[in-house]
Symmetry: C2
Subunit: 303 residues, 2 copies
C-alpha cells in the first residue's frame, strides 16, 4: 500500500521510453526489477497504467492522465532535494548575519568579497544594527551569525571567537599630535575631542580607557555617526577616536590617522551564534573564514 518515489520515477521513465527493457538500462536496474516495481505501483493504485503487448508498451488512459502531473511533482521534489544537497555541500546558501555598522561598512565588505571569490554560490543578508539588536536578531534566529563588540556571555549565546579592534585617532594633517612618537591616553586628553555619542560601543570603550588612565576628558562635541565626527575633525573642532577597522577613517584625504598605543583603546570583537543551534553549512564556513583571517582584519586576537 506504500508508494515509493523510485516506483514513480520508474513509471515516468517507462512511459517516456515506451519500453521496460530500455527503461531498465536507463535506470541501471534489471528488467524484472522494473516489472515488479510497475506491478506494485499498479497494485497500490488499483489502476492499470500500461497495456503490455508483446511488441509494445502503451500507457492506458489513466497512465496518460497521471503522467504529466506526476512528472511535474517528481521534478519539484527532486529539485528541492538537490537544492538541499547544494546547501549541504556549501555550494549555495545565504549567510544571514548581523554586525555593528562599523564592521558592516568597514571590514565586512572586503571579507565577504574574498569569501565569495572562493564560494560563488554564497549570498549574504547582512544587517547593520547596534549591539543590542545584534543580540536580539541572534536570539530570534533572524540571523545565524553576529559580529559585535563587547564580551558577550549569556547562556543562550555562544562565542565562536573573539578578537580586538584597536582604535585610532583621526586628526588634520597639520595637527601637532602628528609629531608625537606614541599616542597615549595622556596625549589624547590634551586636545579637544569629538566623541561618539553615549550608548555607542566606541564611546563606551573610549570612556573606559580614559577612566583607567585616570583621565576624564570632556567632549568638545559629540556625534552619532562616524562620518559626522570625521566632518567635525575636518572643520577643526577637535580630534576623534574611531575603530581602526572603520572605513570612515579614510573618507577625508586631508585627515590622518594613527593607531593608539594603549591596550585599553581597543574593543573586543566577538563572532557569536545562538547556543545549541546548528549553523547552516555556508554560515559555518564563513565563520571559519572570518576566524582564519581575523589577524588580518583586527589588530590582534585574544583567545
Amino acid at each position: 500500500m506504500d508508494i515509493n518515489v523510485r516506483q514513480l520515477r520508474s513509471f515516468v521513465v517507462v512511459a517516456k521510453l515506451g519500453s521496460f527493457t530500455q527503461a531498465a538500462s536507463a535506470l541501471h536496474v534489471s528488467q524484472p526489477t522494473l516489472s515488479v516495481q510497475i506491478r506494485r505501483l499498479e497494485e497500490s493504485l488499483g489502476l492499470r497504467l500500461f497495456d503490455r503487448n508483446p511488441r509494445s508498451v502503451a500507457l492506458t488512459r489513466m497512465g496518460r492522465e497521471l503522467l504529466p502531473a506526476l512528472e511535474r511533482t517528481l521534478q519539484d521534489l527532486e529539485s528541492l532535494l538537490s537544492d538541499a544537497r547544494d546547501v549541504a555541500s556549501e555550494r549555495r546558501g545565504v549567510v544571514r548575519m548581523a554586525a555593528l555598522p562599523s564592521f558592516a561598512a568597514g571590514i565586512l565588505p572586503d571579507v565577504i568579497g574574498g569569501f565569495r571569490g572562493q564560494n560563488p554560490g554564497a549570498s549574504f543578508a547582512l544587517k547593520d544594527v547596534i549591539a543590542s539588536r545584534v543580540l536580539a536578531l541572534i536570539r530570534s534566529e533572524e540571523v545565524d551569525l553576529g559580529l559585535t563588540g563587547g564580551d558577550v556571555s549569556f547562556p543562550d549565546i555562544e562565542t565562536l571567537f573573539t578578537a580586538r579592534d584597536e582604535m585610532s585617532v583621526v586628526y588634520p594633517e597639520s595637527h601637532p599630535i602628528g609629531a608625537q612618537r606614541r599616542i597615549t591616553a595622556r596625549v589624547l586628553a590634551k586636545y579637544p575631542l569629538v566623541m561618539m555619542d553615549q550608548g555607542t560601543s566606541v564611546r563606551a570603550v573610549t570612556d573606559l580607557a580614559f577612566n583607567r588612565a585616570g583621565l576624564l576628558p570632556a567632549p568638545a562635541s559629540e556625534a552619532t555617526y562616524m562620518m559626522t565626527a570625521i566632518g567635525m575633525v575636518r572643520a577643526g573642532i577637535g580630534l576623534t577616536i574611531l575603530p581602526t577597522s572603520a572605513r570612515e577613517i579614510f573618507a577625508e584625504p586631508s585627515l590622518r590617522s594613527r593607531r593608539i598605543s594603549d591596550n585599553n583603546f581597543a574593543r573586543p570583537v566577538a563572532l557569536i551564534k545562538k547556543a545549541h543551534r546548528t549553523l547552516p553549512p555556508l554560515s559555518r564556513l564563513f565563520a571559519e573564514f572570518l576566524q582564519a583571517n581575523r589577524r588580518g582584519l583586527f589588530a590582534a586576537s585574544r583567545p
Copy 2:
C-alpha cells in the same frame, strides 16, 4: 542515499508537532523508528534538520527553509495519488465516449442520468458523430467507448456487446397505415416514403430490409437529419422509417409511430472499445451498466 516519501512525511510531522514522541503517535509508529528515519534523511541530505535539545526539538534554518516547499510538494503528490485511487475505485472519472447522433440524443441522456444517479463522481465527454468517426475516435484513443451501428469486426476493435435497435414507421394520425394489423416491408412499400440520406446507417438498414423482401421502393423524398424527415411526414410528403430509440419520433404530437414487424428492420448496435486496451474503471463500469440495461434500451439483444 535513497530518499523515501515516508521519511519526508515524518520530517514534516515532527516539524509541525515539535516532538518526536508526539509525531510517532500521530504516525502510528514507534518513537525510535522516527529517530532513525529522521537521522537517515539528514544523512542522505547531509544536512542537520533539527536541533535536538532534551526538552525541545527545533528546526534548524535549513529545516525551516526546506519545510514549506517540501510540504507543498508532498501534498501535491498525495493528492495526485489520492485522485488516482478515486479513479481506480470508480468514485470519480470521465467516461469518454463516441456515439451515433441518434443514440447520443436518444437513449444515452437517460442512461447517463441513471448512471450518474448511482455514480455521482462520473462525468461524461460524449461525442455525437457518424459511424466512421466513431471508429476513428476509438482508434486514436480520443474516446474509450463507442456506441455505433452495424457489425464491427476489425482486429483492433473489440465488441463489448451487441443489441438490436428495431425500427418504427412514423405516420400522420389519419394515415391508413394506422389501421394495419402488422407493419411489414410489403405494407410499407405501398406508400410514399421519406428516406434518410444514402450513407446513413438508417438508410443502409432500410435498403437492405426492402431488398431482402424483394422490394425496391423509390424515396418520395430524402433527408439528412431525422427531424427533417419528421417535418416532411407532418407535411404529408410520406411516411418515414426511423430507429425506435430515436427521440425525434416523439417530437411531433400529431404523428404516430409503430414498431415494424420485420426482423430485417433493425440495425445492430455495438458497444466497442479498442482491442488490447484497458478501459478506465468508470468507463468499464458504464459499459457494464449499458449491457445490463440493454434490454430496456433496445428492442432485443442478440449475443
